[in-house]
Structure formats: C-alpha cells, structure tokens
C-alpha cells in the first residue's frame, strides 16, 4: 500500500518547472482575460507532458498514477492557479469513465482524453425544486447547475435516472454542442468557467461498466479522489501564500523598519505556517486513505477536507491582511489565491457536510496518522 515517492517527486519537479516558465502571474493574466477562460496552448502542453494521462490505466498508455502523484500535480496547479480543466476532465471525468465505461467506451474516449482533444466535464448537481434529470428512449431531459468547466467542455458525463431501465441512476455521455442543450455559461469568482445546463431531449449514451459497479459507488469514489485533489490544490495555494507573505514581511518597511520585525506579525506568520504544515499532513494522510475501501477512508478524507477548508481560509485572510491594501487588489496574486480557495471550499461538499461525515465515521482505536 506504499505510494510511489519517486514518481510523485519527478512529477512535482517537472510540473513546477513548466508552470514557473509558462504560468507566471502575467502569463496567467492573459489567460484570465481571454474570453475562453483557459489556454488551449497550455492544454496541449499538459497533454504532451502526460498530465492528462495521469489517471489512465497503463493498458491505455496512462501512468495509472497513485494519489500522491496526483497530489503533486495538484499542488502545482494550486501554486500557479492553472485555469485549465485538469481536475474536471483529467481527474474526475476520466475517473468516471475508467470506472463506468465499457471496454469499448474506454477504448473510444480515453485516448482522446489523454491527448487533450476532448475536454470532459461532469454534470451532477441539480437545482433545488426541479424534477430530476431523466433519460427516456435514449434522450436526456432536465437541468444541471454549476458544472465546473461546463462552459468549455466538449462532452459531458451526466448523472440521470434511466427510465428505460427501471429508473436506476446511471451516468451518460452527452455531446456538449447538441442543439437540444441550452447552456448558461459564466465565470466563477476565481475566473474558471462553469455552466448551468438545460437538457431538452439530448441524445445520451449510457456508460456500461463491465463489472457492474453501481454508478453511485463510482461517483462517491471519484468525488473522494477529487476532494483529496482539492486539498492538494489548497496546499499549493497555501504554500504560495505563506511564502509570499513572509517575503513581504521582510521587504515592506513601516516606521523605518521591516514590518516583519514586529513580533505580533511574526507570530501570526508562524500560525500561518503551522496551518500549512497541518494541511500538508492531512492531505498526505488523505492520499494514503484513498487506497482503502470507501467506507474506511471517509473519516480521514472528510476530516482532511473539513480541516483544510477552515485552515486555508485563515491563511488566506491573514495573507490579505498582512499585505495591507495591496492584498485586496487585482494586481497582486494574493487576492487571486484568496478567490480560488473560496471556490475550492465550495466544491465537492461543504465544510459542514464533510465535518458531519467525519464525525459519523469517527471511532477511536488505532492511530490513523501512520502513513501506510
């Protein structure tokens, strides 16, 4: 059950180098202000770097990377705030396709995911009070909201009741450019895109897992992976915030000396650092927990997410505060990290939901912190 430190380390190094060269603050600014909301060139680069094949089975030419390696990449994604749908397409949708696609479906789609020619998004949440999405006679009807990267996805994986087969909840593959699909596209506060979708009888291809894994179980599993990946992304952000804040404390002068000589600010910087280290430890433990069956991992995965949400917010608030007026401007990366963390916290279940799941799963026996 050991994870592969070496692969993770190599991935972290190469991703950091790429992002440092290609995704600096100003380079990112160009992506942010581009109407597309992402960089098609960067997306091609990711494919070349193998990032989009990270979760693909080795049989399909992928790396079949473990959560540690995925986390290494996601930390870099966080540290430079990459805008492309790595999480939505290369991790979540790819994971669903691996688990729920038939051999033929995998053979058809996985290569296109790996080479970047298809961007997938997962449409799951539905607006309160609307009738649930349903597939009848191979066509899907209903509404989905807040589909991350649903604005630029080529195809969608959509959860819906399969009225053709007794109403069981299943996953379906849908062409995002279908005429019967109406999309309200918008940006999130961190600049990434999303969409609310209205399906009015869109042709839908059902995913048919060879091993009959229920769709609900597959979704739960993939969302746990996504949750932990978002913790790693938060870790990357938090490390960047702690580093930039410490740097600012050394540079910025007030009343004739660096503000970092003030003990009150020093101690608060230390508290930020401690939170960073806890986020790192919990993320690492949650990555290890992903190798366990779903039931046994709930406590650590949800505990990590709940703790990371609160801790990362504290770090972001302090980073803004210690940068003074600069902290709230568009012109400094701090406010961008702040906004990305907001989105992160709202994705894949709220802090309260994960806290409740953590508590429900809590019984104390052996220490769980010992990485397997």
């Amino acid at each position: 059950m050991n994870m592969d430190l070496e692969t993770a380390g190599m991935l972290r190094d190469s991703a950091s180098r790429y992002a440092a060269d290609n995704y600096g603050f100003l380079q990112r600014h160009a992506v942010l202000t581009d109407p597309a909301g992402y960089s098609a060139k960067a997306w091609r680069d990711y494919a070349e770097l193998g990032w989009l094949a990270l979760r693909l089975p080795e049989a399909h030419g992928g790396l079949d990377a473990d959560p540690l390696a995925v986390g290494a990449l996601m930390e870099v994604v966080g540290s430079r705030l990459l805008m492309e749908p790595i999480l939505a397409s290369a991790l979540i949708a790819t994971g669903l396709l691996r688990s729920q696609g038939s051999a033929a479906q995998q053979a058809a789609w996985l290569p296109q995911l790996a080479d970047g020619s298809v961007k997938l998004a997962f449409a799951d949440a539905e607006p309160a009070g609307s009738s649930p999405c349903q597939v009848r006679a191979g066509r899907i009807s209903g509404r989905k909201i807040a589909v991350l990267h649903g604005d630029i996805a080529d195809r969608l994986i959509v959860s819906a009741a399969d009225a053709d087969h007794g109403g069981e909840r299943r996953l379906f593959l849908v062409d995002a450019r279908s005429d019967e699909l109406e999309a309200l596209r918008y940006r999130l506060v961190d600049g990434r895109g999303a969409a609310n979708l209205h399906f009015a009888g869109v042709p839908a291809e059902r995913l048919d897992p060879e091993d009959g894994t229920p769709a609900q179980a597959a979704v739960a599993d993939v969302l746990d992976h996504a949750t932990v990946a978002s913790c790693a992304e938060a870790l990357g952000i938090v490390r960047a915030l702690v580093a930039t804040t410490c740097e600012y404390l050394k540079i910025r002068k007030q009343f004739g000396r660096a503000i970092g000589t003030n003990q009150a600010l020093q101690h608060r910087a230390v508290d930020m650092f401690l939170l960073q280290e806890e986020i790192a430890a919990l993320t690492r433990a949650a990555q290890a927990a992903l190798l366990l069956p779903v039931a046994e991992r709930a406590r650590i995965v949800s505990g990590a997410k709940a703790y990371v949400c609160t801790a990362a917010r504290k770090v972001a608030n302090e980073a803004v505060q210690m940068h003074g007026g600069l902290g709230i401007t568009e012109e400094l990366d701090v406010s961008h990290y702040f906004r990305r963390l907001m989105v992160n916290a709202a994705l894949f279940g709220s802090r309260d939901e994960h806290f409740a799941r953590f508590l429900a799963a809590t019984t104390h026996s052996t220490p769980e912190g010992i990485p397997a």
Binding site: I145, Q254, L265, G325, F338, S350
Partner: protein, 399 residues
C-alpha cells in the same frame, strides 16, 4: 437624579424614528432596491442620495447651527449612521460633509467657508481625501508629497509633487483635500500642511486600482507640478497635522460597522431560513455566536459614545469599536458565503456589478459576494487592526 444625557437620548430616539419614516416614505424605490441588493452605486446615485439626506437637513446635521447644521450631539450623529446602515441604506460619503467640511469651518478662512461649505452641503463638489502614500499608509510621518511655495513671479501658489494612494472615489472627485510637506528636514509633524486641490488642475492624474471585487473604489492620485493657489492652504502652514487630528477626533466613531453588521446579520438569518443547510444546528449555533457578538458591539458602541460625551472615555473606545465591528462584519460575510454554497462562488467579479440576476442563488447573491470581497479591506483601511492595537497598547495600557 436626572442624567444630563437624557435630552440627547430623547433627540436620538426621535431622529431614529424620523429616519425610519424617511426610509419608508421618502427614499425612492429604485435606490432602495439597488441598495438592498448591494449593487454598486455610481456617482449619480451617491450624489442623489447625499442630496436626499441634505433635503432632510441630515447631510450636515452634525455641523454647528451657525454653519447651517443642526448641532447634533455625538449620540445623534452616531445614531444617524447606525440607523441608516441598519436599514441597508447607501454609504454616507464622508469626504465632504464629515471630513473636510468641519476642518474648513473650524480652521478655514472666511473666503474658504463661503466658497466651499455650501457646495459641500449639497454635494455640488465631490471631495476625496489625499492622505495615504505608498510607504506611508499608517505612518503619516513618512509622507513625501511636497508643496513648494512658488517664486514671486509665478504668483502666490504652491507647486505640489508626489503620489497619493488608496484614494477612494478619486475618479469622481472635484476636489482633493491633501496633506503635503511644506518644509524639509523639520520634525515631521511640524512640516505638514493641509491644502485643497482642484482635481481639474493640470498635473493631476488618477489611476484606478481595481480591487478583487472587480470594481474601482480606490485610486492612485499622481501630482506632478500641480499649481495650488496659496489661498487653498487651510489655516497655517505646518499645522496640517493638527487639523488632521481634529478631523480624526471628530471621526472617532467612524470605524463603527454596527449598523452594517446588524443589517448583514438579518440578511444572514434570512438566508439560513431560505436554505436549510446540511447541519441546521451548526448554522444556528454559528449565527447565534455572531448575534451575541453583535449584542456586545452594540452595547459597547453606545456606551462608548456616552463616555465620550461625558468625557469619561479612556481613549481606546474608537479602536474597540473599529476592531470588533470590522471583525464581526467580516465573519458575518463569511458565514453568508458558506450558506450560499456554490451560489457564493458562481459569479465573475467582472460581472458582479451588472444588474442581471446571478446564475445561482438569491437575487442579492452577487451583492453579498461583492461585499465579502471588498470588506476584507475593513480591517486594513482607516487605521489597520494592527495599528489600532498598537494605539491601545501604547495610549491606554502604557506598554
């Protein structure tokens, strides 16, 4: 024994009732709606708002009667802003009526009074404040903007060079009141003067500083060889620090976010009712703690005002009110964001200021998100929390 404050309390109570009635009967629906949705107001909105207040005699209610005001007590003054904020009304733009106005009637020349005060009352002139500079935010002694008295042949004027920063709504301003250095090498506090600068003067450049809510509230103001007539010096040269302190003393309660926090908490409670969350007990407990902090802020604020009026204040009250009010307001905003869930992040800052409905959540979701962003500045601007704590440590605790 009659409490000498009884009269002020009665007046404040009546003022509060009048404000409610004004809000219900006089305030135009479109302005109410914009304000209710926390949409960004433009200059036109603000000017209209300030004039509405002035029509009630309130814009300069705190000015002495001899200058056209109502001679409000500190309690009335505090009640006025508190109640407006509780009702969710727009910000009372302070730069003219609250900041520079009193400095002019207290220290300005008769000509300055005649020229500026009437136009301040009616917001015919829109004012901005030129205090902060890069490297001199909380540390005014580090000011570097210089005003050099011109040569005789150039007339009686100053030539001003320097840069101001974080200047709120400078993009709309007709006038800038400005701290400048009029002497070199002297003790910092004796070298600072208070001048009034026409924003149309050649050499004045305003550069917006977009903030993370996607809007422009604050600016850099560059002053390059700006000629300022000597008659625009307020009071005496080298006394700018004194006037700034006078202004600050008038504004001891300016950092209070009591009314805004109260309004935001009411909205939060409504949100909780609208969106029963996964953990209603946790939400109720969290809101309850905010409610309790609001009670503490409320009693501390009003008692602070009364202490100031009795002259029994210890000097730390303003910091207390600001620290607690800003922390509370920010925490209420965070709770609202959490309750909104995805609706609290599904909004491009660049689109936050449009009147269109947000893609998710209630109609005012965008306004709530916008406020959450900009109000991170509440603990930074107007004397950062760190500075407030320094002030209390030194001034009150003697550390």
């Amino acid at each position: 024994m009659t409490d000498p404050l009884d009269e002020a309390r009665d007046k404040a109570r009546r003022l509060r009732a009048d404000i409610r009635s004004f809000h219900e009967r006089v305030m135009p629906d479109d302005l109410k709606r914009k304000s209710h949705l926390h949409q960004v107001l433009g200059k036109d909105d603000y000017v209209r708002w300030m004039r509405l207040l002035n029509d009630q005699g309130w814009a300069i209610g705190h000015w002495p009667k001899e200058h056209g005001g109502q001679g409000w007590s500190l309690l009335e003054r505090f009640t006025f802003e508190d109640e407006l904020a509780r009702l969710g009304c727009p910000w009372v733009i302070p730069f003219g009526v609250k900041y520079v106005g009193p400095v002019i009637y207290a220290f300005g020349s008769e000509a300055q009074k005649r020229r500026f005060l009437p136009r301040i009352a009616t917001t015919e002139d829109f004012w901005a404040q030129g205090y902060s500079e890069p490297g001199a935010g909380s540390d005014l002694a580090a000011l570097r903007t210089e005003a050099i008295r011109g040569e005789a042949n150039e007339g009686d004027h100053y030539v001003v060079n320097g840069q101001k920063v974080w200047t709120t709504y400078a993009q709309w301003a007709d006038w800038l009141f400005c701290l400048v250095k009029t002497a070199r090498g002297e003790q910092a506090q004796k070298s600072i003067s208070f001048v009034l600068i026409d924003m149309k003067s050649p050499g004045v450049t305003v550069k917006p500083i977009p903030t993370m809510d996607g809007y422009v509230h604050v600016n850099e103001v560059w002053l390059e060889n700006v000629r300022v007539p000597a008659e625009n010096l307020v009071g005496a040269e080298g006394e700018g620090w004194t006037y700034a302190k006078y202004l600050l003393k008038n504004e001891r309660t300016a950092g209070a976010l009591l009314g805004m926090a109260c309004h935001a908490l009411e909205r939060l409670k409504a949100l909780a009712r609208e969106n029963p969350s996964a953990s209603p007990e946790r939400t109720a407990g969290r809101i309850g703690e905010l409610e309790l902090r609001l009670l503490a802020l409320e009693v501390a604020s009003y008692q602070a005002v009364e202490s100031m009026m009795r002259g029994t204040d210890h000097g730390g009250e303003a910091s207390l009110i600001k620290l607690r009010g800003t922390e509370l307001y920010q925490d209420i905003a965070e709770a609202a964001i959490d309750l909104l869930g995805l609706a609290g992040v599904a909004w491009d800052p660049a689109a936050l200021h449009a009147a269109s409905a947000p893609p998710l959540g209630p109609e005012d979701a965008g306004g709530i998100v916008k406020d959450h962003f900009y109000n991170r500045a509440a603990t930074i601007f107007g004397g950062a929390s760190e500075i407030q704590r320094n002030i209390v440590a030194k001034g009150v605790l003697g550390l």
